[in-house]
């Protein structure tokens, strides 16, 4: 309790410290924040190590209910993940000197955001939770809106983010107050104790409301629309936190809903799974076809959260017939969440470094950075391979566990669950493939080959702190990839806090073992084997080559003998995704605009061809835009209610009074 108070206090102090003069501001705030993160992380580690929740209550804060703290191992896992991501983000921020990144509003919002992210999982009742949740939302809104003076996209992003996050918060509030209304007090433990007495319909409705509310925070389709905007427009350290820490809390919320409401009915998880599948496919498809590096990463976040929700749904679906598979799915989900936090923050920080160095986010204007920004490229490659779930990085272990739980869950499953599981696996697989397309594109077009613009050509490696920060998380991706045993104890304790762990999952330092399933995977061994083989081949390659003359010759890329080879001959991100876009034409429904202008004299001669294709978010276009247009029309129509005529105003009262008098008597 005291340590958490310390975290909160230091966080508030850091927030206020933003008022010091600009010269020392960032360093001072970052220093304090570092302390906050370390203390928060250490507290979480202690909870996970001792397997004892930190519980406390004070009524001197927040009128009427006070503040209630209940940091369970589940929450501690999220806090710990956040702490790691936040440390990297803070270090990155210190280097981020330009772009007015040291303004008071940004500094204080950053401090407040980090603090609230660390504390949300520690909330022990609905009021504390919602206070922290909203502080998190508000402070991150300031971060998203930070560059508002420069770009209209930022201003739009701020609105979308603010409106949708609060819409989600409204749903969460509704769900929680309904639960709290039936409990002896608003604490989560009291709610969990009383929720089983609620009628099934109420519980189902509350679950649905919470699912959508928390799902919007996690970026689940169709409530994801804010995500590509906000994540893309926020400054890099903030995007890293948004994607590496905040969306996780949406998942935390769904798990929390399960702890509060119990596993519930099958249909809950079929619905959740439906959203998960849609999000995974939609997110990965848009990631594969988008050309803006940060939007791509944001869509990939939607996709990953979709996978996480698939895992959660599997856990819920299997709970009735296969406890082992159920808890395995839960653990897999949590592994995936932590893995995602690490690799996605790596990627966002790396993308931030790129933006810092080039002022570009458009993949078609990057390229060639592997030579000018080797460290940044290396961390991006690690992050990309991890998100693509390739061994030996941490994404692989997570995805493997999810698949294992799905395979395992089939035993004893009824037909509905079987079909759902097959769909889950298929979604997982297609998503995996599309993610690979997306990230090969991101790395290949954005970092390899020839620079595609002036600014990319003159890019220079970023300051040292901005190199260190993503390197930390990238190193964690590698470490947890080859040695998954490092984290599995903590994660299984966290899952224990939700449901008793019956998975039979053990982890050595180098791999996962599922005794009951006779399944195991050993990324370290795979990595070592592959590295050894690669070294042998490298040696052979070195031994080969001609007897005389140079063994390696550098020559311009083969352009079919053309004299001039330019950067524009390379495949762009758009062209890279074109085959995929054609395959999924019906889903994406991209808008093409072909404008051919002929010369005046003859229409057989073309003077100019303008071709534009936009691949904007179809959910936004087909679902949100009409609603917004309707609201705008309604708003304009409503002006008639106050048209200035005092007679009309009085008439409202007159009519209502007469009716009321007649009715009441």
């Amino acid at each position: 309790m005291i340590v958490l108070a310390l975290v909160a206090g230091l966080g508030v102090l850091a927030t206020l410290t933003a008022l010091v003069p600009r010269a020392v501001r960032v360093k001072l705030v970052a220093g304090l924040l570092g302390l906050v993160e370390i203390v928060g992380g250490a507290t979480a580690i202690r909870v996970l190590a001792t397997n004892h929740a930190i519980v406390g209550h004070t009524s001197s804060l927040v009128p009427f209910t006070g503040v209630r703290i209940d940091l369970t191992p589940l929450g501690a896992l999220f806090t710990l993940t956040t702490a790691v991501v936040a440390i990297a983000a803070t270090i990155h921020w210190v280097g981020y000197r330009r772009h007015a990144m040291s303004s008071v509003s940004l500094s204080s919002a950053f401090a407040l955001f980090v603090t609230s992210l660390l504390l949300v999982p520690a909330a022990g009742d609905i009021v504390t939770f919602l206070v922290l949740w909203e502080v998190m939302a508000l402070s991150s809104l300031v971060l998203v809106a930070h560059d508002h003076a420069k770009r209209d996209e930022t201003r739009q992003a701020a609105w979308w983010y603010g409106a949708m996050t609060q819409g989600g918060a409204a749903l969460i509030t509704l769900g929680l107050v309904v639960l709290g209304g039936h409990a002896a007090n608003p604490s989560f433990s009291a709610i969990a104790a009383s929720a089983s007495h609620l009628p099934a319909a109420t519980r189902g409705a509350v679950f649905l409301v919470l699912l959508v509310g928390f799902g919007s925070k996690a970026g689940l389709v169709p409530a994801h629309v804010w995500l590509p905007r906000a994540h893309a427009e926020a400054p890099a350290p903030a995007s890293a936190l948004l994607s590496g820490a905040m969306v996780n809390l949406g998942i935390y919320g769904i798990v929390l809903a399960r702890t509060l409401l119990g596993v519930g009915a099958t249909w809950w998880w079929l619905v959740a799974g439906f959203f998960g599948v849609i999000s995974a496919l939609y997110g990965s498809l848009y990631a594969a076809t988008s050309t803006d590096l940060k939007r791509l990463l944001a869509y990939s976040t939607s996709d990953n959260m979709g996978l996480v929700v698939i895992g959660l749904s599997a856990s819920g679906l299997f709970a009735a017939h296969n406890a082992a598979a159920s808890s395995l799915a839960l653990i897999a989900t949590l592994v995936l969440v932590t893995a995602h936090a690490l690799y996605k923050s790596t990627l966002f920080l790396g993308a931030g470094s790129v933006q810092y160095a080039t002022d570009e986010r458009d993949l078609d204007r990057l390229g060639g950075l592997a030579r000018t920004m080797p460290v940044t490229t290396a961390v991006i490659v690690v992050g990309a391979l991890a998100v693509a779930a390739l061994p030996p990085l941490n994404g692989f272990g997570a995805e493997w566990l999810v698949v294992q739980s799905l395979v395992h869950g089939l035993s004893g499953a009824d037909p509905v669950t079987t079909v759902a599981t097959a769909v889950f696996v298929a979604a997982l697989a297609l998503t995996g493939g599309l993610t690979i397309v997306a990230f090969v594109k991101a790395v290949g077009v954005g970092f390899l080959g020839r620079a595609r613009s002036e600014s990319a050509e003159h890019a220079r490696e970023v300051p040292v702190s901005m190199r260190i920060a993503p390197a930390i998380t990238a190193a964690a991706c590698v470490a947890l990839g080859v040695a998954p045993g490092l984290a599995i104890t903590a994660i299984s304790r966290a899952s224990d806090a939700v449901a008793p762990n019956r998975s039979g999952l053990t982890a050595t330092l180098s791999g996962f073992h599922l005794q009951a399933l006779r399944s195991a995977v050993d990324p370290l061994a795979l990595a070592l084997g592959a590295v050894a083989a690669a070294l042998v081949v490298a040696g052979l390659r070195r031994a080969g080559g001609p007897r005389t003359g140079a063994k390696l010759r550098v020559f311009e890329p083969w352009g079919s003998g053309r004299a001039v080879t330019s950067a524009r001959m390379q495949y762009t991100a758009t062209s890279f995704a074109e085959p995929l876009q054609r395959v999924f034409d019906d889903v994406l429904a991209p808008q093409h605009d072909l404008d051919v202008s002929h010369v005046l004299e003859s229409r057989y001669y073309v003077e100019r061809v303008a071709y534009a294709s936009a691949n904007d978010d179809i959910v936004e276009r087909r679902l949100y835009r009409p609603v917004l247009a309707l609201a705008a029309v309604l708003g304009v129509r409503a002006r008639g209610l106050a048209n200035g005529s005092v007679h009309r105003y009085l008439a409202y009262g007159f009519v209502v009074l007469v009716i009321a008098l007649v009715v009441v008597s």
Partner: protein
């Protein structure tokens, strides 16, 4: 001690009326507000320790003491800002010294009338006090003497007079019920509340309907709400702050007190249905009017309607939790809305307009004004750490706890729509580029900052209000 409450406004008002206007007079007005605040705190302490003070016509219980504190606090804010407001007006030639003097006098009268309304233990006195606020503020609304101000004050007085007349009719009918039940003092809140069970139910139902209709007009509730955006839009900023920040709540508090009587006579259902219907209607109207709002001050006015609607709904639900929320909400809304109107006034003075579309880039152009507007809007939208968040959440919890989950759902839905709308307008006003950037004087930022700080404090820390609030909520729960 109760009578002392009126002394300071009286003195300050007389001085303002009799002596030529100069800043010192305005400072005296601020001092008077401070005195009201301090006395309110003193009364609160005494009430907390030794129960209600006074009996008969004027009586200070916990609720009254709390409302006096709110009146004092918002008045202090408004009167402090009035000093530079009037100075600027006089210097710019928009206002003569005579007008300034009239303004200062009327503001004191306004404060006194509101204080009277909350400490009145007599339905008649309450009515007189609230009618007095209408009469006094009409000229304040028309302070600018422009055709638009004239129009606003006409609409204001006409609509409010009708409403208040209906409230008087309701009061009369309630009195009738009291007389027929042989209540000793049938206009007295305490005796009516004590004997409420004896009253004739159909008559009380009629009376309560008329009173909610009537005082609801002053509180900006449906159906007679239309004066509110016009008056708030045209009144000088400090007056708007006072009207929106406390006058509405004072009228609402009258409904709260009468609801107790209605509930004990009629049972909970009728008052609940009535207040829920009116509250939700108010919320919905406010929401649709906010969707495509084009003016900042009108936006703030409709937002006041929204908050009155929220409180009315919660009052309809009833219970100590809901009413605690309502009372805390009154305070939080008063402070934040006061700050926002004062900020909007400064925006109007400097930018020459409050049209939302013409204010683009405010945050970059006038960082302090923009930041206060942004923070204030955040507070108004019920985001933590502002107390409005806690109070809204408390009311929602009470609604859900009473089994009225659909009410909570409706309120949350409307709130989400309002939030999206205000956010969109905020984006238009605040965000965007600007060539130059002007700093604002400390004399502006400091009081508004302190008020916002207070709104945060009451949202985060239970001390010193928690006990008083629970006492006060107990009175009207």
């Amino acid at each position: 001690m109760v009578y002392w409450l009126f002394l300071a406004p009286l003195v300050a008002g007389l001085v303002a009326m009799l002596s030529p206007w100069r800043p010192a007079v305005a400072w005296l007005g601020a001092t008077s507000a401070l005195v009201v605040l301090v006395l309110g705190v003193g009364l609160a302490v005494r009430v907390e320790h030794s129960g209600p003070i006074g009996s008969g016509v004027l009586r200070v219980d916990a609720l009254a003491a709390f409302l006096v504190i709110v009146i004092g606090a918002v008045s202090l804010l408004a009167t402090v800002r009035s000093v530079s407001y009037l100075s600027n007006e006089v210097q710019a030639g928009h206002s003569t010294l005579r007008h300034a003097a009239l303004y200062s006098t009327l503001v004191q009268g306004f404060i006194a009338a509101m204080v009277l309304a909350v400490v009145a233990n007599n339905l008649g006195v309450l009515w007189v006090a609230i009618e007095a606020t209408t009469v006094v503020t009409t000229f304040l609304v028309g302070h600018h003497r422009t055709p638009a101000a004239l129009e606003a004050s006409w609409k204001y007085i006409i609509i409010c007079s009708v409403g208040i007349a209906v409230a008087f009719l309701g009061t009369t009918v309630l009195y009738l019920a009291g007389v027929h039940a042989h209540v000793a003092n049938p206009l007295d809140f305490t005796s009516l509340a004590a004997h409420a069970a004896l009253l004739n139910a159909p008559v009380v139902r009629l009376a309560f309907t008329l009173i909610v209709f009537g005082y609801g007009t002053k509180a900006g509730l449906v159906p007679l709400f239309s004066w509110l955006p016009d008056a708030h839009g045209q009144a000088p900023a400090p007056v708007s702050a006072l009207m929106s920040g406390v006058l509405l709540s004072v009228a609402l508090s009258a409904i709260l007190r009468l609801r107790v009587i209605a509930v004990s006579t009629l049972g909970p259902t009728f008052p609940r249905v009535l207040l829920l219907a009116i509250g939700i209607a108010t919320l919905v109207v406010a929401a649709v009017m906010l969707l495509a709002q084009r003016d900042l001050k009108r936006l703030l006015a409709y937002s006041s309607m929204e908050h009155m609607g929220i409180m009315t709904v919660a009052a309809g639900v009833g219970g100590p939790l809901a009413l605690s929320g309502v009372l805390l909400h009154i305070l939080g809304h008063g402070l934040v809305k006061g700050v926002l109107f004062l900020d909007a006034g400064e925006v109007l003075r400097l930018e020459g307009t409050t049209r939302i579309a013409r204010l683009g880039g405010l945050l970059a152009r006038r960082p302090a004004l923009g930041a206060i507007l942004a923070i204030g809007l955040a507070g108004l939208l019920g985001l933590p750490p502002f107390s409005i968040f806690v109070s809204e959440l408390t009311m929602l919890r009470a609604e859900a706890g009473a089994g009225l989950w659909w009410v909570a759902a409706v309120v949350l839905g409307v709130l989400a729509i309002i939030l999206a709308a205000i956010l969109a307008h905020g984006r238009t006003m605040l965000l965007g580029p600007s060539e130059q950037s002007t700093r604002s004087p400390v004399s502006l930022v400091a009081p508004l900052g302190v008020a916002l700080g207070a709104a945060v404090w009451f949202g985060l820390v239970a001390w010193p209000l928690a006990h008083l609030l629970s006492l006060a909520a107990g009175i009207v729960a």
